[in-house]
């Protein structure tokens, strides 16, 4: 069992502002990671950790926003024909509203995004929680606070 240059998505609902836009970052081969966490401090920390590991980062403050950025919101027109350019999603487990686990289920339930590796972070080491997430398809479960060594492990999941 495994343990362990950016912008915040705008609220525009047009396809081109979402992560699957082909017009941005032409030729940029850095992996693109979506980081979801309701805590601003933790978002800043994970963003820096990922940027320092040569990743492109987009952050979202909750599950709904993440789904919106991924083109998975129920009320969105289906613009996902272009496919998502997200190489990994990392999400906090404990979030108000939609938990990281619920977000994981939505991602794994999507035909376009189910192959994208999802990593869950939590400040609490609860074996039943960890197992539940891994069984639902999470690639890895990491204990907070995140460190450089954790991000190194994450990078290995992408290639």
């Amino acid at each position: 069992m495994n343990l362990g240059g950016s912008f915040d998505g705008s609220s525009s609902s047009s396809c081109s502002s979402r992560l699957n836009s082909k017009s941005e970052h032409g030729g940029d081969s850095r992996p693109h990671i979506l980081a979801v966490d309701d805590n601003l401090l933790d978002r800043k920390l994970i963003e820096k950790l990922l940027l320092n590991s040569s990743c492109k980062v987009t952050t979202a403050e909750n599950g709904l926003r993440a789904l919106e950025l991924l083109g998975l919101r129920d009320d969105q027109p289906n613009c996902s024909a272009t496919g998502s350019k997200v190489n990994m999603i990392i999400t906090d487990y404990c979030m108000p509203g939609m938990t990281g686990y619920e977000l994981l289920k939505k991602i794994k339930g999507s035909s376009i995004l189910k192959e994208v590796p999802v990593v869950i972070m939590s400040s609490e080491n609860v074996p039943t929680r960890i197992n539940k997430c891994l069984e639902e398809g999470a690639q890895m479960f990491i204990l907070k606070p995140l460190k450089q060594s954790d991000v190194k492990k994450l990078r290995c999941l992408i290639y």
């Binding site: 805590n39 601003l40 401090l41 933790d42 800043k44 920390l45 820096k48 950790l49 320092n52 404990c94 108000p96 400040s123 907070k144 606070p145 460190k147 450089q148």
Partner: protein, 145 residues
């Protein structure tokens, strides 16, 4: 004092903060993340911690002042504070949060109030220490270090 003396002072002071448990390894992680592109990263993150903490301590005082204390709400606030303090390495604050959550589980208002006092105390201390640390760093820069 010249830059070299100030640097020595900074090293001694930082070692003391780690030895006395005010800060833990996570703070080192933050320092290592700082670079020329983000020369103020540590100060920015710690400022977020200060803002978070002050807001949460106020919320906790209000929540515990109710006739019928909503322990779920109290626990949610402490959980957030535990998270933030852990993310910057404010070890003593984090440890009080752990005890605090136990009292929430037991719906023990006396215990919770005691923890809140301790939290305010530990937060005030670590804030002073961190501000002193940043001030030393500024002095070193000013002295050409």
């Amino acid at each position: 004092m010249d830059a070299l003396q100030l640097k020595r002072q900074l090293i001694t002071f930082t070692e003391l903060l780690f030895r006395e448990g005010f800060l833990d390894e996570q703070f080192h992680q933050l320092q290592q993340l700082q670079d020329e592109k983000n020369p103020n990263f540590v100060v920015e993150v710690v400022s977020l911690f200060f803002e978070d903490s002050e807001r949460l301590l106020n919320e906790l005082a209000k929540a515990l002042d109710q006739q019928n204390v909503d322990y779920k709400k109290v626990d949610a606030h402490v959980h957030q504070l535990k998270g933030s303090s852990s993310s910057i390495g404010a070890q003593r604050v984090q440890r009080v949060c752990i005890v605090f959550r136990n009292y929430c589980n037991e719906k023990n208002v006396e215990g919770c109030l005691k923890c809140l006092q301790q939290l305010k105390h530990e937060y005030a201390i670590v804030k002073t220490k961190l501000e002193a640390l940043f001030s030393l760093e500024q002095q070193i820069l000013a002295a050409g270090g």
